[in-house]
């Protein structure tokens, strides 16, 4: 990190103009989009309120399927939150210069994805007014919270990650808040004044910021790995067929990075198109992101194959019922669709250098990966719970 102030030149006004333009002018279609999204959010809030009054049974959750789309969505959104940490944190640590236009897009996704993931913990609670049992307060009297509950681990992991990623988003925003404080003259100015913490761009301030970033960057990468490992252990420590596996932690982390990078590609494409940022987000960025996606595709395919292979080789009937239901049973259609979206199509497309340099193509792969990863998260939960060890209890689940 160096003080960019001395680099003043003909390009600086263009950068200021191009990058601050989305904040200064608003098209009418923006308000239309906000209105439509707010309507959908209101519908979701109404459904949640209905669930309060009538109970979580309304979601069709029932024994033996006690986890459903809420937990699948929780895992998906925690995974999506790995986008910012991986893209920004790992690339910052490795001093990859091409990361610059992508980091903020990814860091914002991390922050927002964590908010959404936290909401799914509350949806799943059912009796949400008892949420305080999730807070890890000292319990010398050995009453609740139950530290053996995976839901408790999730709460601790997500709140730690949310705190760290908020700091990680905020620190590099300080110089930009100061820039907006000096250039924007509307209702936002007082807010920017507070958020910029008196930033003047002195050498000392840059050094302090650099030190803070050097400390937080490796920490956030470690928290990123730990948080999804913990989500993986939710499954790994259980005795449910096809969940009782030691490979779940790395499998979850790589899967999270896979869907997270896919989400960033979607964001890059849309923002580049809407705000005409072609001078900043170029074909080479999509090429690099495509290579990252190829890497995560290969890593995830290896882990998934290893998981299925060990179950097949062990040939334990309880586990094979689940695998058979995926390969040729009632879950075969979504399973093979997921395999195509997450592994086969990305692998075939992204190995072609010419394809990786097509922003639209890489964005479509990002969409397919995220659709596939969501289905994968549902398939991770529903089939194993539908086939418990005692066959008299077999049942299925369709979300309401």
């Amino acid at each position: 990190m160096t003080n960019p102030a001395p680099a003043d030149g003909p390009q600086i006004p263009k950068i200021n103009r191009d990058l601050l333009e989305p904040l200064l002018s608003t098209h009418w279609s923006y308000f239309l989009l906000v209105g439509a999204l707010a309507g959908l959010v209101a519908a979701g809030a109404g459904a949640w309120s209905y669930q309060f009054r009538t109970g979580i049974g309304q979601t069709n959750l029932h024994p033996p399927v006690f986890w459903g789309v809420y937990i699948a969505s929780f895992i998906f959104w925690v995974g999506a939150s790995h986008s910012g940490t991986f893209i920004s944190g790992v690339l910052r640590l490795t001093k990859a210069e091409w990361r610059r236009p992508v980091t903020r897009i990814a860091e914002l996704m991390t922050f927002i994805s964590l908010i959404i993931a936290t909401l799914f913990v509350f949806y799943h609670l059912g009796r949400v007014w008892r949420w305080y049992y999730l807070i890890p307060y000292p319990n010398q009297r050995e009453i609740w919270p139950n530290f053996r509950s995976p839901l408790m681990w999730d709460a601790m992991a997500v709140f730690t990650y949310a705190t760290a990623s908020t700091i990680y988003l905020y620190l590099p925003l300080i110089p930009d808040f100061a820039l907006m404080r000096d250039r924007i003259e509307d209702w936002r100015k007082p807010l920017y004044r507070v958020l910029s913490l008196g930033w003047q761009g002195t050498q000392h301030q840059w050094q302090v910021l650099e030190t803070a970033m050097r400390i937080i960057t490796p920490l956030i990468v470690m928290v990123m790995v730990s948080v999804h490992s913990i989500v993986g252990w939710d499954f790994g420590v259980s005795l449910v067929p096809a969940w009782h596996s030691t490979i779940f932690a790395p499998y979850f982390v790589v899967g999270a990075v896979h869907s997270g990078v896919g989400l960033v590609v979607i964001g890059m494409y849309i923002l580049r198109k809407v705000y005409h940022l072609e001078d900043y987000i170029g074909q080479e960025h999509f090429d690099k992101m495509g290579k990252l996606l190829l890497l995560t595709t290969l890593g995830l395919a290896y882990l998934y194959f290893a998981e299925l292979l060990t179950i097949w080789y062990g040939n334990i009937p309880d586990h094979m019922w689940v695998v058979d239901s995926l390969l040729s049973g009632p879950f075969a259609v979504p399973f093979w669709f997921m395999v195509a979206c997450v592994y086969v199509i990305p692998l075939l497309a992204l190995t072609l250098p010419a394809f990786r340099r097509r922003p639209l193509g890489v964005m479509v792969i990002g969409v397919l990966i995220n659709i596939g990863m969501y289905i994968e998260r549902v398939l991770l939960i529903v089939p194993p719970l539908s086939y418990p060890r005692l066959p008299f209890n077999w049942d299925t689940y369709v979300p309401s």
Binding site: T2, P4, P6, A7, G9, Q11, I12, K14, I15, N16, L19, L20, P22, L23, T26, Y30, L33, V34, L37, A38, L40, V41, A42, A43, G44, A45, G46, A47, W48, Q51, Y70, S73, W77, E97, R100, P101, T103, R104, I105, L108, I112, I115, I116, L119, F120, P172, L173, P175, D176, F177, L179, M180, L271, Y275, L277, D279, Y280, I281, P399, S400
Partner: protein, 41 residues
């Protein structure tokens, strides 16, 4: 599924609102990139 769809809409809404509040590309990092041989001719 309405709650799931509403949550997806909330994620997009928060992102859309954030775009009007923070620069979507880090301005100072882009300027720093110029010193390291970036492009924006």
């Amino acid at each position: 599924m309405t709650i799931v769809a509403g949550s997806l809409a909330l994620a997009i809404l928060l992102y859309v609102l954030a775009v009007k509040f923070v620069p979507i590309i880090s301005v100072w990092e882009e300027k720093e990139g110029l010193m390291h041989g970036g492009r924006h001719e």
